[in-house]
C-alpha cells in the first residue's frame, strides 16, 4: 500500500501545454502514472503526446474522470487553478508552482477545506508512491519500493534523502513533499496521520526546516496520539532570524520558527533528530532493523 496515490490514480495536469507541464507530464507517464487529461484555457481540443487537453476542469472531469490534479500554473494564476480543481471536486489537488501570492493562497486553502478536499503544496515537488505512481516533479530514478514514508518541506533535500535510503536498500512506501510556503495544504501532522494509517509504512522520515511551527505541531501530535517510529532532520539550523532562506516559508520571525524549539519538541517525544542526511538513513536502518 501507500498513501494518497497508487496505480489507480488518474491525473489531470493543469497547465499541461506549458514547458514545465508537458515535460513533467511526460516524466510522470514514464514513471507509470496514468495521466488522463490536461487543462489549459484556450487550448481545449488539442493533445499533448496523446493526452487530451481541455479548456476547463469541468470538461476534463466530464470526459476523463480524473481523481487527482497537479498544477504547473504560474504564481499569478496558481490559487485560481487550485480553486477550479476544488470546485470541480478533485479529491487530491497538488500545486507544484512556487510564488503563489499568500493572500490568494489563504483563500484557496479555505476554498479547498470548505469542500473537504485535500491540497498538497503549493511550492512542492509533489509525491511518489514507489513502484505505483508519481504526481509532480521528483526525479524518476531515485525510488525503491519499501516501507519508509518520507515527508519533507524541501524538494532537493527529499531527493537527497530518498537517494540515501535507496542506496542502502531501504525502500519507500510514499514520498511526500508538502512544500516550502508559509501556507500549505497538507501539514506534517496530516502526513503523519496518513502514514500511521498505512499498514505498509513502518517508519517515517520527516524533513523539516526553520520557519513556522508545523514541526512543533507534528511533535505534539506524536506526543498526544503516538505514531510509528519517526526520524527527523531539520535544515537551516544555522540560519539567522529575519532572513528568508529561499523558501518563502523558511524564515524565523518574531521568535517563532527557530530550529531549537523544533529539535527540542521532537526529542521530547522520543523522535531523534539527525545532523546529516546520512545519519537519518543510519537511524532509519537501525530502527527498521529493530522493528522487523
Amino acid at each position: 500500500m501507500s498513501i494518497l496515490i497508487d496505480q489507480n490514480t488518474r491525473v489531470v495536469v493543469q497547465g499541461l501545454t506549458g514547458r514545465e507541464g508537458s515535460f513533467h507530464a511526460d516524466q510522470m507517464k514514464k514513471f507509470g502514472t496514468q495521466v488522463v487529461a490536461g487543462v489549459t484555457p484556450g487550448k481545449g481540443g488539442t493533445e499533448v503526446d496523446g493526452v487530451p487537453v481541455f479548456d476547463t476542469m469541468r470538461e476534463a472531469i466530464e470526459k476523463t474522470s480524473p481523481n487527482c490534479s497537479v498544477s504547473f500554473v504560474p504564481g499569478p494564476g496558481s490559487a485560481d487553478a487550485v480553486m477550479e480543481a476544488a470546485d470541480a471536486g478533485i479529491p487530491l489537488i497538488v500545486a507544484i508552482t512556487e510564488r503563489t501570492p499568500i493572500h490568494d493562497e489563504a483563500r484557496a486553502y479555505r476554498y479547498v477545506k470548505d469542500r473537504g478536499l485535500r491540497l498538497i503544496g503549493p511550492n512542492c515537488p509533489g509525491l511518489v508512491s514507489a513502484g505505483k505512481s508519481k504526481v509532480g516533479i521528483m526525479p524518476n530514478q531515485l525510488f525503491k519500493e519499501g516501507n519508509v514514508g518520507v515527508v519533507s518541506r524541501s524538494g532537493t533535500l527529499t531527493y537527497e534523502m530518498v537517494n540515501e535510503l535507496s542506496s542502502r536498500n531501504i525502500g519507500q512506501s510514499t514520498v511526500l513533499g508538502i512544500g516550502g510556503d508559509p501556507i500549505i495544504g497538507t501539514s506534517f501532522t496530516d502526513a503523519l496521520e496518513l502514514f500511521n494509517a498505512d499498514p505498509d509504512t513502518h517508519l517515517i522520515v520527516l524533513i523539516g526546516e526553520i520557519g513556522g511551527t508545523d514541526e512543533e505541531d507534528a511533535a505534539r501530535y506524536i506526543g498526544d496520539h503516538g505514531s510509528k517510529p519517526v526520524v527527523a532532520f531539520i535544515s537551516g539550523r544555522t540560519a539567522p532570524p529575519g532572513k528568508r532562506m529561499g523558501h518563502a516559508g523558511a524564515i524565523i520571525t518574531g521568535g517563532q520558527g527557530g530550529p531549537e524549539h523544533k529539535v527540542q519538541a521532537f526529542e521530547k517525544v522520543g523522535v531523534p533528530v539527525a545532523n546529516t542526511i546520512a545519519e537519518v538513513a543510519d537511524l532509519a536502518a537501525r530502527r527498521l532493523g529493530a522493528a522487523t
Binding site: A106, R110, S154, D217, G246, A250, T276
Partner: protein
C-alpha cells in the same frame, strides 16, 4: 519587500488612515524647508532596521534651524551598518496613549490575524514573550475579511480608549484594507497613538509586501532597491537569485533551498563560517551556475566556496560546465570545492576531471576541504614569520 516608514505611511494615508503630516527628504536644505512649513517636527532616519531611535536616528526639532541641525547629524549616519540616506520630517505629535496594532500571517492557522495590545510603542516581540496575555489576537477569515464586529471586540478586549474609539476603529479597518489590497505579509502600526486632543493617528508604520504578489503592484516597484540593505543581495534580487548575505567567509551554492540550508548547516557544523545562502534552483543551466559564482564572489569577505549539487531536474554536467565557464571567464582567486550527486553525476565528474575542481565524495568532504584551505591561508602568514 519591506517598505520604509514613509512609504508605509503613504499607503495608509491613501487608505484613509490618519498619519502625521510629513514629507521625506534627502538633504538638510529640504529638511529645513519642510520644517518651516510644518512647525515643530520629528526627524526620523529611514532605515530598515530595528532600534533606530536608541541609535540616535530619531530626533525632535522645534525650529527649522534645529531641524537642519539634527538632519545634519542623522543624514549620512551609520545605524547598524546602514547609511541613512533619507529622513522623514513629520509634525510633532502630543501623544497621550500608545497602542500596538499589527496584521500578520498566523501560519499555524493558515490565515492572517489582527493583533492588538495596549502596550504600544515598545517591541511587540518583547511584549509577546513577557506578557503574552497583553496581546489580543483575532483570526481573519480569508473569505470574509476582517469584520467590523471583530475589530470592535478586539478593541474592547485590548482596553482601547473609548474616547477615541471611532478613530482607532477606522485605522484598524484601513490597516486591513492596505494588508489585503497591497498584499502585505505584515502591516504594523506601532505606536498606534491617541493624541492629547483625542485623535487617533498612526504614529509609526511598518509594511512588508509579499514578494510573490509584487506583479500586482507596479506602483511599488520603485521601492524595491531601497528595501534591500546589502548591495550584493540587491544585485541578486534584481537577477532573481535567492541569495542571503551572512557574516562568514565561506560561500555556499546549492540547488534547492533545503539543500542550501543543509550545506550552510554542514559548513557551520564542521567549524566554518558561511558567507551566504544561495539557491541556484531546480534545473539550473551552466549560465545560471556561472552567475551564482559571480554573485557569491561579489562579497569581498568570501575566501572559499562550497558547491553542493544533487541532480534531480538539475543535471550534473550542466553544473560542471557552468563551473568551468566561470573559471574561464572570471579571475577566481578563492578555492572551490564541489560535490555532485544524482542526475548525470558521472558526466559531471568526467567534465571536471582535469580541472582544479575535482569533485569531492561527499558534502562533508567538500566543506572540510574548503574550511581547511581557508584556515591554512589565515594561518600561513603566522607560520611564515
Amino acid at each position: 519587500m519591506k517598505l520604509q516608514e514613509y512609504v508605509s505611511k503613504d499607503l495608509l494615508r491613501k487608505a484613509g488612515v490618519p498619519v502625521p503630516h510629513g514629507q521625506v527628504a534627502e538633504s538638510v536644505d529640504q529638511v529645513e524647508e519642510i520644517a518651516r512649513r510644518l512647525g515643530p517636527v520629528a526627524v526620523k532616519a529611514q532605515v530598515l532596521v530595528g532600534g533606530r531611535g536608541k541609535a540616535g536616528g530619531i530626533k525632535l526639532a522645534d525650529t527649522p534651524e534645529d531641524a537642519r541641525q539634527v538632519a545634519q547629524q542623522i543624514l549620512g549616519m551609520d545605524i547598524k551598518g546602514l547609511t541613512v540616506e533619507k529622513v522623514l520630517v513629520e509634525q510633532q505629535q502630543k501623544i497621550a496613549k500608545e497602542y500596538y496594532a499589527g496584521i500578520t500571517l498566523d501560519r499555524a492557522r493558515r490565515q492572517f490575524v489582527l493583533m492588538l495590545s495596549s502596550m504600544g510603542g515598545v517591541d511587540i516581540e518583547e511584549v509577546a514573550a513577557e506578557h503574552p496575555d497583553a496581546i489580543i489576537k483575532v483570526p481573519i477569515d480569508p473569505s470574509f475579511g476582517l469584520l467590523a464586529y471583530q475589530i470592535r471586540d478586539a478593541m474592547f478586549r485590548a482596553d482601547f480608549d473609548r474616547g477615541a474609539f471611532k478613530g482607532l476603529q477606522g485605522i484598524l479597518g484601513g490597516l486591513w484594507r492596505v494588508t489585503q489590497d497591497k498584499d502585505a505579509m505584515l502591516a504594523e502600526v506601532n505606536p498606534l497613538a491617541v493624541t492629547d486632543a483625542g485623535n487617533a493617528i498612526a504614529a509609526d508604520a511598518k509594511i512588508d509586501i509579499d514578494d510573490s504578489a509584487l506583479f500586482r503592484h507596479p506602483d511599488l516597484a520603485q521601492y524595491e532597491a531601497e528595501s534591500i540593505n546589502d548591495s550584493v543581495e540587491r544585485y541578486a534580487a534584481e537577477h532573481n537569485v535567492p541569495y542571503v548575505k551572512l557574516d562568514g567567509n565561506i560561500g555556499i551554492i546549492a540547488n534547492g533551498a533545503g539543500l542550501a540550508m543543509m550545506t550552510m548547516d554542514a559548513v557551520r557544523r564542521l567549524g566554518g563560517q558561511p558567507a551566504n545562502f544561495l539557491d541556484v534552483s531546480g534545473g539550473a543551466r551552466a549560465e545560471v551556475v556561472r552567475q551564482a559564482i559571480q554573485i557569491v564572489l561579489m562579497d569581498p569577505k568570501v575566501e572559499g566556496i562550497v558547491m553542493n549539487i544533487f541532480g534531480g531536474i538539475t543535471r550534473g554536467d550542466e553544473v560542471a560546465r557552468g563551473l568551468l565557464e566561470a573559471a574561464s571567464t572570471m579571475d577566481i582567486k578563492v578555492p572551490i570545492a564541489i560535490r555532485i550527486a544524482g542526475t548525470r553525476e558521472a558526466e559531471g565528474r568526467k567534465l571536471l576531471e582535469d580541472s582544479p575542481f575535482t569533485p569531492e565524495p561527499s558534502l562533508d568532504a567538500a566543506a572540510t576541504t574548503i574550511i581547511r584551505q581557508v584556515h591554512e591561508k589565515h594561518a600561513a602568514p603566522v607560520g611564515g614569520q
